[in-house]
């Protein structure tokens, strides 16, 4: 297939020598090589001999040093400073908030500063890592990840009825899952079914320690990622049929679980109407609502008539506490910074040309946005799902480090820009099962 030749390689080598960003070499050399072959073939069909045609084709390319220098100027790893700046602002805002709130409760800020530094290190490590490994080793990553989370769950302390650390590590799940979607992109309907099977396997592995909120969160995020891929046409299937294939089983499963589990059902009902069980499931929600309804726009609010304050002021209910203590303005400030970060990131995601790059970066935006939305809803009194963290703002080391790591992965996608070109349109779809010589070959790649 590959009509390569020493002369061609020599030319391409001298072009690439001028381009400092090594990662770009493979993409550039493939394109140039193709061009030389096309040009040579054109000369051959004009009547020139093979070697003469090749020589002329290479001469037509132009001076390799000049071409390389021009390309070097264009291909540089990109650093999205806007994302780094917004993340830093959020991180600083988080430290200020924690300094105030922890001061109120008598804790010291030292640990928060330490976690922020670890978070920055995690972000840099992820940025320097080549994100395409997510698409190269999807099975290894998924099962390795599940094994690690399982291990962490065993050694992790239990907090409020659930294992403490795994839920934060699981924030990496949607991003790892994009590798699976990416792998299935040319397998059609079977690919979707396989995605479902792998989700099922993950859920069974997580069963001993995952909470309902975890399942709901990751099911929604995975469904959004799959929907996005189907609508973008990456899975090569009929859009309506594809949507039915993922949403019918999802809706059936959710209905079945809700009907068969009275506790879960009462939680859903109570989230919408906390007064049904004001002393039990609806207690915190009612108190939260009372506190924020007594809050001012700027300045300290009246709190509750009973004089109680919400527990967990610097972790789960930080925003409720801030709204009470400083007024709605504190919520507006924090939400604006986070919203800006998410909107800017999402815009950059949409500019990505590569399928894997889009999927990975969108999974990061979704995972962080979901945490923000769940957290805000919880702090305004709608407590259907247990909050994880308010990314970059609320207190908590593991959550912060993982979220910073996710930002790093996204920056690593943006670094490559549109150089990663996996947007190959395959005219003949590869078959999952092939029968050859009486053997059934199952192609998992």
């Amino acid at each position: 297939m590959k009509e390569s030749n020493n002369r061609v390689q020599e030319y391409i080598h001298s072009v690439c020598n001028q381009i400092r960003w090594k990662k770009s070499h493979i993409y550039i050399s493939n394109e140039l090589e193709n061009h030389i072959i096309d040009q040579k073939n054109a000369f051959v069909s004009q009547g020139l001999k093979e070697d003469k045609a090749l020589e002329k084709a290479i001469a037509e390319m132009g001076d390799p040093i000049g071409v390389g220098t021009d390309l070097d100027r264009i291909h540089k790893p990109k650093i999205e400073w806007s994302i780094i700046a917004l993340t830093s602002i959020a991180l600083l805002l988080g430290l200020v908030v924690q300094f105030i709130v922890l001061g109120d409760t008598g804790f010291s800020i030292g640990k928060s500063v330490f976690y922020s530094i670890l978070g920055i290190v995690a972000m840099i490590i992820a940025y320097l890592t080549d994100y395409t490994i997510i698409g190269k080793y999807p099975y290894k990553l998924l099962f390795g990840f599940l094994a690690i989370v399982f291990g962490i769950a065993i050694i992790s302390p239990t907090y409020q009825g659930s294992s403490f650390y795994p839920k934060f590590f699981l924030l990496l799940y949607p991003t790892i899952f994009t590798g699976i979607i990416y792998l299935m992109r040319d397998k059609g309907y079977l690919g979707i079914a396989l995605c479902g099977v792998l989700m099922g396997i993950s859920y069974i592995v997580l069963l001993p320690f995952a909470t309902y909120s975890t399942y709901v969160l990751y099911t929604i995020l995975s469904l959004i990622l799959l929907t996005f891929s189907i609508l973008k046409g990456w899975l090569n299937i009929n859009k309506i049929k594809g949507m039915l294939l993922i949403y019918i089983p999802a809706i059936v499963a959710v209905t079945f679980i809700l009907i068969s589990n009275p506790y879960l059902w009462s939680r859903v009902i109570n989230a919408f109407n906390p007064n049904l069980d004001p002393m039990g499931l609806g207690w915190l929600s009612n108190m939260t609502k009372e506190i924020i309804s007594n809050a001012k726009f700027i300045g300290e609010g009246l709190g509750t008539s009973s004089g109680y304050m919400v527990p967990d002021t610097y972790t789960d209910s930080l925003l409720t506490y801030l709204i009470h203590r400083f007024g709605w303005i504190s919520l507006i400030l924090i939400v604006s910074v986070l919203a800006l970060l998410m909107i800017k990131s999402f815009k950059l995601c949409l500019k990505q040309n590569s399928i894997l790059g889009s999927l990975v970066s969108i999974s990061v935006v979704l995972t962080i946005s979901a945490q923000i939305i769940i957290y805000i809803a919880y702090n305004l009194g709608f407590q259907l799902m247990a909050p994880l963290t308010l990314p970059f703002i609320s207190y908590g080391g593991t959550g912060l480090i993982i979220n910073m790591f996710l930002i790093g992965i996204m920056l690593s996608v943006f670094k490559w820009g549109n150089l990663v070109n996996d947007n190959v349109l395959v005219s003949s779809t590869k078959k999952f099962f092939t029968i050859n010589d009486g053997k059934i070959i199952i192609d998992l790649k």
Binding site: I37, D70, N421, L425
Partner: protein, 115 residues
Amino acid sequence: MKISKNLLSGSTTMLLLKLLDNKDMYGYEMIDELAKRSDDTFTLKAGTLYPLLHSLEKDGMLISYEENPDNSRVRKYYSIHKDGKKLLKEKEKEWKIYSSKINKVLEGGVKFEGI
């Protein structure tokens, strides 16, 4: 919008965008097509073409994808993006003004001679 000046004269960008406005093409196809359409007046070197294409892609004017139409070699196709279409319109407008001014000067000269 910033396209480094030393890489291209504006008109080459315009011609490439115009070609891609019709259909998606790969690099060699563009050089070939440009030569054909201009009766071999415009012969673009690959060494000029690719840096130009890559910088247009980097600026979001073009997007690329790989396709393997006849199962021979995977080719990198370029496709014009909406920002690219905008740029093409601007360039065409500029070109029309520029060429009409040139013509005006030339025709003005002719008229003067005519009197």
